[in-house]
Amino acid sequence: MTTLPIESQKTAQIRFTLNGEETDVSFAPYKTLLEVLREDLGHTGTKHGCELGECGACAVLLDGKPVLSCLVLALECGGKQVLTVEGLGEDGHLHPLQDAFADLGAAQCGYCTPAILVTAKALLDHNPHPSRDQIREAISGNLCRCTGYLQIFEAVESAMLKIADQKSSVT
């Protein structure tokens, strides 16, 4: 029997909250959150375009804040809350941002989309009525090569109005 190479050995373990569910995972300790999400937990919605923090495609929310999962050690995520695109929808419904992105052409190839969606969600959670400039600033760490960003701005604005509507109809 051949010995398992050390890089294959899943000697690290953490428990954290992934998209609202308590999750245990074992993984090789050199792995970043990005690798563990995609390779050890099958959550491939989070993408990667450089793995060096230079494109923004791997953004997830860590305790509610957008971070780059390619530069977060999975070892550092024990006890944390992680939200990925897989956890955006609720009760079988798309998040208003997802609906708006789908309806308004904000996703072309769709590769940068998951990271932009969670980043935009953090923006709206924190600031329910951002200006166009604030939206531009919030997603300035997410490169998109397809859209030229304008339909993304519009989709965030449309979702913002829809969320505000939902809130006012609830209260």
């Binding site: 398992l4 190479p5 099958g42 993408k47 375009g49 230079e54 494109c55 072309q108 940068c112």
Partner: protein, 838 residues
Amino acid sequence: MPNEKDSRKMPVDAPKASGDELRVIGVPRRRVDARAKVTGQTRFADDIFLPRMAYCKLLRSPHPHARIRKIDTSRAAVHPGVYLVLAGKDLPIQYGILPVSQDEQALCVDRVRHVGDPVAAVIAREELTAFEALDLIEVEYEILTTISDPEEALATPEPRIHEYGEEGNIHKMVALEFGNVEEGFAEADEIFEDTFFFQGNTHLPIEQHASVAIKDPDGKLTIWSSTQTPHYLHRALAKVLEMPAAHIRVIATPNGGGFGGKSDPFNHEIVVAKAALLLDRPVKICLTREEVFYCHRGRHPVLMKFKTGVKKDGAITGMHLQTLIDGGAYGSYGVASTFYAGALQTTTYHIPRYRYQGCRTFTNKPPCGPKRGHGTPQPRFGQEVQLDKIAEKLKIDPADLRLRIVESSNAVTANFFRLGTVNLAECIRRIVKVSDWKEKFRKLPEGRGVGLACSAYLTGAGLPIYWNKMPHSGVQLKFDRSGGVSLFCGATEIGQGSDDVLAGIVAEVLGIDTFDIRLFTGDTDLGPVDLGSYSSRVTLMAGNAALQAAERGKAIIADAVAEKLEVPKERLRFADKRVFDSAAPEKGVTFQEAVCLAESRFGTIGTVGSYTPPKSPALYKGGGVGPSPTYSYSAAVVEVEVNPITGWVTVPKIWIAHDIGRALNPTLARGQVEGGVYMGLGEALMEEQEFRRLPKKLSHALVHKFPSILEYKSPTSLDMPEVFTELIEEPDPQGPFGAKEVGQGPLLPIMPAVANAVYDAVGVRIDEIPVTPEKIMKALAEKKAGREPRYGPTHFPHVNWPTALRVPPPWEGGDGNAVNDVPRREKPRQEKEKVLAP
């Protein structure tokens, strides 16, 4: 079944252009694949994980040009966790996208031609293991003289980077003359001569190329890959792996951006296929960002010289264009690129006489190829900037000048391209109006300016990449008793919305919803061939094939329903998921009932459609590059603010009008325009594929200056200006529902419009792309010193051009053939399917 060959004609009962009859086409709507994309469920190639899957990494050459003396893989092969090591001898058969340049090998056998050329592959249990084992492979190289640019290539015939091509390190030369250009210059009131340089740049899709290959349970091969051209990959795999193509299945996964960068068959695709067959386990590769820069196939750096004669009123009397093209280390699409660099000059304005000389050289850099606009943005930049200079000299407003000379619909150009609808004039008029051009041009305060430029682009290449008489695109439809329709087509979704185009057309014809259609695309086993997502061909070609298949299905269903309802079938209407009597709409059946009626009457219902472009009148040799069923047109105005001390440029707003024929889904069409504007602006201001040569005394290195997504500058959301987009819709008879392309054309006017705007703002000409603050500041210094206020190339080197093929234009009685016979130069013929001895 109707006649298969009659694929070009629109069915007589095709919906007409009047918009109000259409329920799906022309209506902004959620694209069919949108939900998958916004939920992260779109499965890109690297999202595929299979049991027992191994990872592949490639060892790449650290030398720009070297002979491989020896490769020793033994230490890597026994490294714990390594399953397999491959080297050049394992995959020696040459391949390449074009039949005339089969010059690549999956792993270099005896020669490396650029830093990043792969020489060996390690397949291991973990990607980290594969990466670390690369260092255990020992390669002995013999360093060869390195060529870094075309002028050096012209001056250095030996050593040859390839043993084929024109001569020395010249890969391809083109010389074509349409009418006597010297006579044209003799008639001119003014002659303009300008040289321009357009730096190379790259696609930078956010998704890095990835592939997963498996040996199927039955022993065949399946590969999932981020490719824009599954059909061409299919052919290359069959050739290199020496397998029957029928035993290979290529599945093009949705591409996370393509822009032309995933249009060649790539070495990594072939390597994982071979490894999967040998190991009988899934093998994956996902390139790093740096490796994507080594795949490249991006915009060629081009040095250009334009000589143009004009009358006082602006009419062009003749044009002579010379290009010197930096091809990089392999052929790729380069022969086509060389023709394209001189092809479309004639499609925007009337040019009665035209001469083109193009020369592509090999250099020891990653190969250039097709990027959005393939070969045409560079000369378009030169032409449109020169036109701005001409307008100034002639004291004509540049918009008015262009309006005087625009080509007309259905014209045949000097080089025998038959144009379709041409609404360039309308594009110009619209942007002039909405941008307040007349109030701004030459009237804004110092430091602010506006520039205008135009362009045209193909709606699909008229010829396939390899010679054949088969359709360019095919669609099969299966009509289910459930009322669902399944669509099968080889077309490849790269983000542009090709799936939505197909679904939209079929839904419109059958009166159903796009959600009722299940799509099976980009799979060589399931769908009929579509040549790929390149040359802006999918909407028109796959679209027409889908239209034909849908019309045929509709006809069969209509027969059955007409019989049942006892209504003449001409009166039947398909809409709102019903088939009904248009004279008495309440009389009808549901679409599902209609399919069941048809199946009961005729048996299982399935139809096919296919499309072959019309024959081009360009019969001369080389006339195969440039013809298209129809062309799109764009006009743009760019406004800039230029800091008169530092040259720092800000672009606050861009106005663009695009002649699209018809927008099948206006939301997506606008997205294509804005995406093109975005990419064009990146090229105009900051994107560069730059290389660095270290001091020759100390090093032979010639490296990509910084192959990273950080230092290759792609504009961010903060760098993107406001864009006003207008779609000009006059349905073109060639396109499905009148649609023309929109994926590439809108990029093209941006670069020249930026340069023209900078001139309007601060009075300096930047005849080079990108237009950077450094160049502006240098030109401002020239201006201040009283010299020519300009930054750009000052000479075009001597090229030993071949005798031009002379083709009289239509108005001189030409029939599309050349009138002279140019003897081929003496040169060693490339062996077509050369197999190197191991």
